[in-house]
Symmetry: D2
Amino acid sequence: MSGKLRVTIWNEYRHEANEANTRIRELYPEGIHRTIAGSLEGSCEVRTATLDEPEHGLGQAVLNETDVLIWWGHVAHHEVADDIVNRVHERVLNGMGLIVLHSGHYSKIFKKLMGTSCSLRYRAVGEKERLWVVSPGHPIAEGIEDYFELQQEEMYGEFFDVPQPDEVVFVSWFEGGEVFRSGCCYNRGQGKLFYFRPGHETYPTYHNDNVQRVLNNAVRWAAPPNRPAPKYGKRLPALEPIKPRG
Amino acid sequence: MSGKLRVTIWNEYRHEANEANTRIRELYPEGIHRTIAGSLEGSCEVRTATLDEPEHGLGQAVLNETDVLIWWGHVAHHEVADDIVNRVHERVLNGMGLIVLHSGHYSKIFKKLMGTSCSLRYRAVGEKERLWVVSPGHPIAEGIEDYFELQQEEMYGEFFDVPQPDEVVFVSWFEGGEVFRSGCCYNRGQGKLFYFRPGHETYPTYHNDNVQRVLNNAVRWAAPPNRPAPKYGKRLPALEPIKPRG
Amino acid sequence: MSGKLRVTIWNEYRHEANEANTRIRELYPEGIHRTIAGSLEGSCEVRTATLDEPEHGLGQAVLNETDVLIWWGHVAHHEVADDIVNRVHERVLNGMGLIVLHSGHYSKIFKKLMGTSCSLRYRAVGEKERLWVVSPGHPIAEGIEDYFELQQEEMYGEFFDVPQPDEVVFVSWFEGGEVFRSGCCYNRGQGKLFYFRPGHETYPTYHNDNVQRVLNNAVRWAAPPNRPAPKYGKRLPALEPIKPRG
Amino acid sequence: MSGKLRVTIWNEYRHEANEANTRIRELYPEGIHRTIAGSLEGSCEVRTATLDEPEHGLGQAVLNETDVLIWWGHVAHHEVADDIVNRVHERVLNGMGLIVLHSGHYSKIFKKLMGTSCSLRYRAVGEKERLWVVSPGHPIAEGIEDYFELQQEEMYGEFFDVPQPDEVVFVSWFEGGEVFRSGCCYNRGQGKLFYFRPGHETYPTYHNDNVQRVLNNAVRWAAPPNRPAPKYGKRLPALEPIKPRG
């Protein structure tokens, strides 16, 4: 991978665009995508895309030039067009990294890649969350202490109905009594997928230094492999002589 | 689990129903499902279902009374109705075991549960396959020697585009030079899923003692857990007192 | 596996044998091993063994007749003879199940099988522990609700320096703010290994119904496979003709 | 990680040092370690160490300055001093990467980190090996086609008695009929471990471009995380207020 990683940050951008949501607009005046972009622009080539743009801002050309896609959605998952989801899905299988945030657990693209309900327990009362590192050698945990805290977050609790992750990097403790696998790594096709739990729109999560550090680490981890796609899906001749068996 | 396991064997049943396929009809005169059924009836309560039955033989009542579903399909995957696929999917997430055979790797239900293309290399010239046990403590390998051979099989070769299995039980060697992860275990929701590679319709694979032994083992392994579904997908009150944080 | 599973419960048996430990002796008057034995005797053929018996009660004949070994130790890990540890190790690799409890994380046999320090954070102030099921389809979780609580336990916190488990069944929430992977499944050789976190000697943990249920489930899960040992460790002739290459 | 990775290549260096081994000395006139060093020196800061040096060339200072250690051994595993093995072990748990080659599967350090017998089948008749990529998105597979071939190698066959790898990158096909998990990734403590199968001393394996590419990739993958060691192994105060429970 020569040059800077090309990151596209996709945001539903409905909460922040609604004038009634004073608190959310104070936290993310230009949208969650712009706050995340600000934390990545030093090290990556960043662009953003939102639901209400044509093709949701995810035209084929944009995706082809995207190394890692970050996804935040919440109330409008059903408005994302199926053909765009399929386009993203195909790019992931061909090597594009994907980072799915918080309520994106119910997005079409995440459910399609997981194959399960992606359901969980939840509660939004602004309780404390503490994220523990359970895989301290993992690149996504670099620079993170044994744990870090978010003073106010929505709770997500187990059972989280996803396939067993290939690696779990963080497990959360919640003040109200639950736990959650909050940093989950998956391989799908040639693509790498990281689900990162925190990020409710009414809390300043994406301004948090540790959260920004995790996202920076995750982008680097999810970078596409430098190799052509495997030649599968094909009838292929034998590589060795075969004894005819009638 | 009291009493015998209730197994439903689903077969597309098109190759064997076609009078032109003399060789296939010699091997499986009543269909692949009936041959497999014969090998399970001693230890399980078995029924069969086929594509051309109403609801493909998979009415809700049938699925509710099924502990483990076995799936064989090949040329008519696209004819399987999406609502039946969704019904099977939901039952798997709620604990029903699923065993997907051979060309079922391209079935709608398998692709939906995997989230990937499920693509692979292939070649059908009747070459030798040797299946090696790489997880000798696994219940699905019980009674199987270090390896077993099938004198004639279709080749499936890597890369097999599926998520990394939770456990790999068999890896195949092919005469023509390829390898394949031929026995793959997955957990999805509360359900257990086993993909077993061999079983091309033009070869006597389902008459093979080792193959029958593996299927018997797999049915026992995939039996549903004896527990209610998790209470997720719900907003839930805190289990511990929470300090208000404004 | 015909007949009842043969379980041997090994206990260091030093805390309970010491008259000064009034509280412990009230909880476990005949030793922790006898309490656990009481909960298994309905379904298994149980024997016990303790540190101060000849060969720690683990002669070769005893091990040969043991399907699953349960291990509790704490203050005298270093007194366990290395040759006995090697004997247990060899039996595990040949298929004997092993269930390691609580402070057994620092036992010689567990460290030898893990290959890591097996270190963790800890605190014994009798706080509340809540164990969440994160693998609801797993046989070890059968009959367990979404979670269960222990009102008083020692805290063990992450990072727990063990290899990534093949499957994690429980994750604990602790009142004091930590989390822990409390039910960890491993395969080693042909043997299955389950580490179960709770069980400090000053609390009534092994009298808890859920704990007893987990141990019953774990014993069944860890039963040896019904197959001979693989023929590895040998120079072996080719199975196929080889083209000489000079 | 700023600057070049610091790699130490350890070699038993007995076969190549023996004048009777004409063929081996032709292939590796300065030893296997020097051939591997030659392929890494462009991108890494490389040093080598051998069995017969004081402390086997692995003094504490050398290990402290090593990011990734590569290990080749065969006939003299038992001559490696236990305290040096323990020193390497501790460095791995603290983050040093380790790449174990071929017959190193029986080295003390590999067996200690695996916790199993590390046994396998073998045969050295110079047959063809074909390594298939089964994890095409993995950094260690970068630049490698769907497979690559070695015209002459020793055969290693399954069952390979190691813990289930965290990720399998390569599976080998052998002319004589066996298969093998030839590229196995593990996490141990904060360290990353890669086992790479090929490399018998009587064949030109380490001169092969694909093998050199894999080793270059593996060194980058195994680089230590940039973070301090977790504070485990300690009794620690509660992070949250605890309700006294008598």
